[in-house]
């Protein structure tokens, strides 16, 4: 049996639904590939268009600008993450095991995923690490937030926070701890590979060590 992942994205993210046509889907998959390769700053609509190939104007018909496209991709990531959390927490009996599983999902390893997606999951994971904070670290945050563009992130955060509260109902910072664990997982992974002196995992570059750190932060904070 094959599990397919598909999300209904916020229509405010696009001008024309990229899922509705082949070109649209191409724009999404090629953008992921290209931002992964050259980074968000050097990524342009003209370059993806040439890669597909189609025209710049066609890309503009689907997405208002490259920032919206980035939010579209990152929302795809958050939704995919929440899907995975939902899927893997099924039948997990204790909140302790759930938390361990969540952390395992948050930190990428070359594990064979059972879930099929049209996009490359590893590329999207790396994009999320390097570019996700750029979606909200802009002067348009409040405006974007009103349009609910960050809902998938909030939903994932709420899901994780609810497991924290299940583990310890009296813990007062469940949501802050959830967003912190998510963000730490990203930038510690980045530090591990690029700025080793800012972390303690650069000797072995083993994601398992990062997971151990995240578990220690989570469980020590939550301990009643």
């Amino acid at each position: 049996m094959q599990l397919d992942f598909k999300v209904r994205q916020n229509p405010a993210l696009y001008l024309k639904d990229p899922e509705s046509t082949e070109v649209g889907k191409s724009i999404v998959t090629h953008s992921i590939k290209m931002i992964y390769e050259i980074g968000y700053e050097k990524f342009t609509f003209k370059k993806v268009a040439q890669e597909i190939p189609t025209t710049e104007a066609t890309v503009y018909r689907y997405f208002e600008n490259k920032h919206r496209l980035l939010i579209y991709l990152i929302d795809l990531y958050w939704s995919f993450m929440e899907f995975q959390v939902m899927f893997h927490l099924n039948n997990v009996p204790t909140p302790e095991e759930k938390i361990k599983k969540i952390i395992d999902i948050l930190v990428w390893e070359d594990n064979v995923g059972q879930i099929f997606t049209e996009f490359d999951q590893k590329s999207l994971y790396y994009i999320a690490i390097s570019e996700s904070s750029k979606t909200y670290l802009s002067k348009d945050v409040d405006e974007n937030n009103k349009e609910m563009l960050f809902k998938p992130y909030k939903d994932l955060c709420a899901s994780i926070a609810s497991v924290f509260s299940e583990y310890n109902p009296d813990y007062p910072y469940a949501r802050s701890l959830a967003s912190s664990i998510i963000e730490i997982s990203h930038f510690q992974y980045f530090f591990m590979h690029h700025l080793p002196r800012l972390c303690d995992f650069s000797k072995n570059k083993n994601p398992k060590e990062l997971e151990a750190f995240l578990e220690s932060v989570a469980f020590n904070s939550l301990k009643p």
Copy 2:
């Protein structure tokens, strides 16, 4: 008595030392003011030049590009933070009190600082929150890192980590915890004001609550 803060910045950050001339100093202070107001994305050399007023080419004589200028400003921030940590930890007897003091410094409140700077400290703090991660979240990280452009951040991180190790010499993640505390302090402050559902402090927007969260994460993690 007045305490003046001045740093010797990494010469790789500039083409001509902005501290050496009045125009140079103007570029720095006006850039801080302007990035605070309109954000890094909308900030251009032409705009600062008009504000000062001088010419675009003059700004380019001091800084290679706006990314280097941003690193210059953020390094100023990290150095200033470390200076404050050094200064305020003087004569603090226990590592526990030191950690509390560090967290107090990391989270901004409208406290009157005793240290004089040419730049506006509050603006620089807000820039650090929104823009600091953009200095390293780029495809040039490794190259920039080789040039030691992130040394001030690493130094601050090391200083904080050493206090953690003083508190508990057996704790294996001192540096990761230090960088995590720094980053958490930034984005939780940001969430508090812009994405309230991602944290637990938005009701009162009281920095003291954020400090309490940071203390709980730090001390629970470090507990022997």
